[in-house]
Amino acid sequence: MTYIAKPKVTHPSLPHNALGLTRRAYEGALSTLCAGCGHDSITAAIVEACWRLSLEPQNLVKLSGIGCSSKTTAYFVSGAHGFNAVHGRMPSIATGANAANRRLSYIGVSGDGDTLSIGLGQFCHAIRRNLDMLYIIENNGVYGLTKGQFSASADIGSRAKKGETNRQPPIDPVLLALDLGAPFVARSFSGDKRQLVPLIEAGLQHRGFALIDVLSPCVTFNDHEGSTKSYAYTREHYEPAVLADFVPREQPISVDYPAGEAREIALHDGSRILLRKIGADYDPTNRAAASAAVRAREASGEYLTGLIYVDATGRHPEFHQVNATPEEPLNSLPMEQLSPGSLGLRKILARYR
């Protein structure tokens, strides 16, 4: 049962979405992050994407772990339930929540520490289960909240604020996700709203696990010279592979693309992703090629960004399809459908006599 919330009274000239809500309706509590933190830009992009999608706030569930990044679920869509789990264990909470009610939209926000160190196992297994959720990593190469230790996504040669140089190879969540069968894998940059917002829209609407690894500089601990996750370095070395546009259901494609340049991917709800290739021979529907392209760029210190891989063929059944659960959420099945009753009990017990 859902109710449409009355839009908060705001300036009448603010644009309204299909639900009649302004962007304000998708905001959350005031951020307590450092001024300039990349994470705040991602929060803004999420607000924008949810507004554009005309999501009913109460149909969104926000999940996170622990870290500066994980705090941000409190800073958008205050009309949505939020669950700030323990460090690194958001994916299991998401799995259970999703199992209980498949009708809602699930967005998980995590950090590189939360996902790639303590949470690596749960992250990989959520992908393997193809959980229907959007998983955003706010990737800054450090542990922000605990004050600047290298994370597992720090690049070889990256220098910490105190001078130390990282000599261990980074764990790239994009490569992992490709290996583990994720059907939607993207990378973006907190500073590029133009690229990020449609990715979030598409990720939310896509059925199955959608990963967006967002480079999100930490201005306090990892934005100095020598850091490969700084604004400067990221801006310089990020290379969009494909531009994605999100086209909601029943909306015509508004821009004209030269023939052959754009490619449409239909999502299960009728909305579409419009892909425009940038690199000449990049094919975002070929998993092995995507993996090779990411690897090749990485070797030269560059970040391939955009919608790196997408599979909307449904070849990879998502969690509920695998489990053959009913369309109706498990949390609201009536007792009659669950308990065999006293008669049933007697039958069952017959063989224990």
Binding site: N59, S92, N331, M335, S339, L345, Y352
Partner: protein
């Protein structure tokens, strides 16, 4: 063994090798005794491997309905050469030894006080069957035939049972029956049958079933309406989840569409399993997991979150021997403390302690209701003995009027009528706040977190706001005391009491009968939940000396009693059993008498009921909430 009448009153122990099919023979024997109307119990002592190691099965036949281990073995079926010597040693004086006389067994000579019965099982089977595997399997059915002869079991009943098992495989039925007959005929031909210890039909098993606790608990979860089951395999909890899955496959799959009205998730580990349960329960599904000690250790962090953020969850801990990996296939009550206080900080959890499969079934249902009523994890602390052994218990009943108690979960209408919803406000003064589900109403959103929060659900680092929530959690804890199943009392007015918990119950009850026969009368209390209700306090207060019988080294139940009631701990005497095997009644009897040597004959009066009788006392708390029903004990 005393020469007294042991008809329907003895213990058989069968020593074999695991993976050789003896399990079906043992079940067959036990069931055929059960169907003769004679109370019986079966306990399986199996190794932590898959194949080829020693395994034992103990069958207690008890006309008086005792289902604990007695502590002695009157008939040993010693079929494993590796353990032969110690098996022979374990037999009670005057007892009977059944062995495979295909090979000579010189160790036999070491005991003149027992009767050896040699049946050439291997030879018989080798002559009658072909194929290595078949011969091994049939040898392990053949001894059931020999025992049938010795104990005077009805062959027709055995045939009936085999028919139920192999009904659709007539070949198997035939070969099994042939093996039975081989053993039966040979034994009758060569030995005086039946033995003085034998089975005579009675009518004391009507209305009972034979079932293990894990199956019963799984059934309870099905009936309670659990829809999300997440777990990571670990002995001895696995069979609970297997049973849940197979009940669901039978009962909850749409025959036309294949749609499954449950989600069964094999998690990547226990941290994930409990996380999934929390996520699902937070989102309104009845969700549970089952595990054992190592899993509880791994769930500590999440259990603390659930306590503090007030998320319901049901966790079955099927205890096994610790510490650490310990002995995975042996039983213990070693997780009492770690379940009660799992996690750092000021954290405490509601626990239920079933004593047999009947309570497993019932408490599974209660656990879900309590978890949602109290919005906190409820741990059902069972053990391997209850969970995996064969217990004779009263048949379960179900009240069709039962509806899940979702506790204080707001309806859309209730939310609509609110100015603003506040998650952690103590509106009713019982320490239990109201909650809402996602997706239900635009005004219902709140933020769940394990970090400091105030009564409105907001983040806080303010001392007073933090303390207010922590104090309310203690109010809720007080409320919990009145909601959990009460302890069961048997006997009253005596000076001496005994307290036990869980699977120790049957041994204590039998011991009390034995002690009473020696003139020692002791009142008995079995705790069934944590926190303890005031009936526990009262029992401890009213007795001068209280034994605490439990199955661990560190007196964990005694510790909980000491910490959580006002009892002077000096009057608590521990009876600790921690060998990994289920405690026997003999251990309790001897423990009591050793502690209080002058006790026997002193006639410490108490108006107690027979301990072997059904304990019928239930306290007011057991009454179902209006409109809800519960299973009769």
């Amino acid at each position: 063994m005393t020469s007294a009448n042991r008809v329907n009153d003895f213990t058989i122990k069968i020593a074999t090798v695991n993976g050789t099919g003896s399990a079906s023979a043992n079940t067959l024997l036990m069931k055929s005794i059960f169907r003769s109307g004679v109370p019986v119990m079966g306990k399986n002592f199996f190794p932590s491997n898959i194949q080829g190691l020693p395994t034992w099965y103990e069958i207690r036949v008890s006309r008086d309905g005792h289902v604990a281990r007695s502590g002695t073995v009157e008939l040993m079926v010693a079929l494993n050469p590796e353990t032969y010597a110690r098996d022979v040693r374990e037999l009670a004086p005057g007892g009977y030894l059944l062995y495979d006389s295909t090979w000579p067994r010189p160790v036999l000579l070491s005991r003149a006080d027992i009767t050896a019965i040699g049946v050439p099982l291997a030879k018989l089977c080798n002559e009658n069957f072909t194929g290595v595997r078949t011969r091994i399997l049939m040898k392990n059915i053949c001894y059931a035939g020999a025992l049938a002869a010795l104990l005077n079991l009805e062959v027709d009943r055995i045939r009936e049972l085999l028919g139920e098992t192999y009904g659709r495989k007539p070949q198997l039925l035939e070969s099994n029956m042939r093996a039975i007959t081989l053993g039966y005929e040979y034994t009758r031909a060569h030995f005086p049958c039946p033995l003085p210890l034998s089975v005579e039909p009675m009518d004391r098993t009507a209305g009972n079933i034979i079932i293990d606790g894990n199956t019963a608990a799984a059934l309870g979860c099905v009936f309670a309406g659990a829809t999300v089951a997440a777990w990571y395999p670990i002995t001895p909890s696995t069979s609970l989840m297997d049973a849940f899955k197979s009940f669901c496959e039978r009962l909850r799959v749409d025959p036309d569409t294949g749609v499954k009205r449950y989600a069964f998730i094999q998690a990547e580990d226990e941290l994930a399993a409990i996380g999934m349960v929390l996520g699902a329960a937070w989102n309104g599904a009845r969700a549970f997991t089952a595990t054992s000690g190592p899993g509880i250790s791994l769930m500590n962090e999440f259990l603390g979150l659930a306590y503090y953020a007030e998320v319901p969850a049901v966790v079955f801990d099927i205890q096994r021997v610790g510490p650490s990996t310990g002995m995975p296939t042996r039983t213990q009550q070693g997780d009492l403390l770690s379940c009660a206080y799992a996690s750092h900080g000021d954290t405490r959890h509601v626990c239920l302690y079933p004593a047999d499969p009947g309570e497993c079934f019932q408490m599974a249902r209660e656990a879900f209701d309590l978890a949602e009523r109290l919005q906190t994890p409820v741990l059902v602390v069972s053990d391997l003995d209850i969970g995996m052994n064969d217990w004779m218990v009263r048949e379960f009943h179900w009240d069709d009027a039962y509806r899940p108690d979702r506790g204080k979960m707001m309806t859309p209408e209730q939310i609509e009528s609110l100015q603003k919803f506040h998650r952690y406000l103590d509106v009713d003064g019982d320490g239990i706040p109201w909650r809402t589900l996602p997706g239900v109403h635009p005004k219902s959103a709140y933020f769940t977190r394990g970090s400091g929060h105030n009564q409105f659900g907001g983040y806080t680092e303010d001392a007073a706001e933090y303390q207010q929530v922590l104090d309310r959690l203690m109010t809720k804890w007080q409320t919990a005391k009145q909601r959990v199943p009460c302890a069961l009392l048997d006997g009253e007015g005596g000076e001496i009491g005994i307290v036990s918990i869980g699977s120790g119950d049957s041994a204590v009850r039998e011991a009390l009968v034995v002690l009473r026969a020696q003139g020692v009368t002791i009142d008995y209390l079995r705790v069934r939940a944590f926190p303890f209700g005031e009936e526990v306090q009262r029992f401890l207060a009213e007795h001068r000396l209280v034994f605490v019988a439990e199955q661990n080294r560190d007196a964990q139940l005694r510790s909980l009693l000491t910490l959580e009631t006002p009892v002077e701990k000096a009057k608590l005497r521990s009876l600790l059993h921690y060998s990994g095997l289920p405690v026997s009644s003999r251990f309790i009897v001897e423990g009591v008498l050793a502690e209080v040597p002058g006790l026997a004959g002193a006639g410490c009066g108490s108006r107690g009921r027979s301990a072997a009788e059904e304990v019928a006392v239930t306290c007011a708390r057991d009454a179902p909430p209006p409109g809800k029903a519960t299973t009769p004990a």
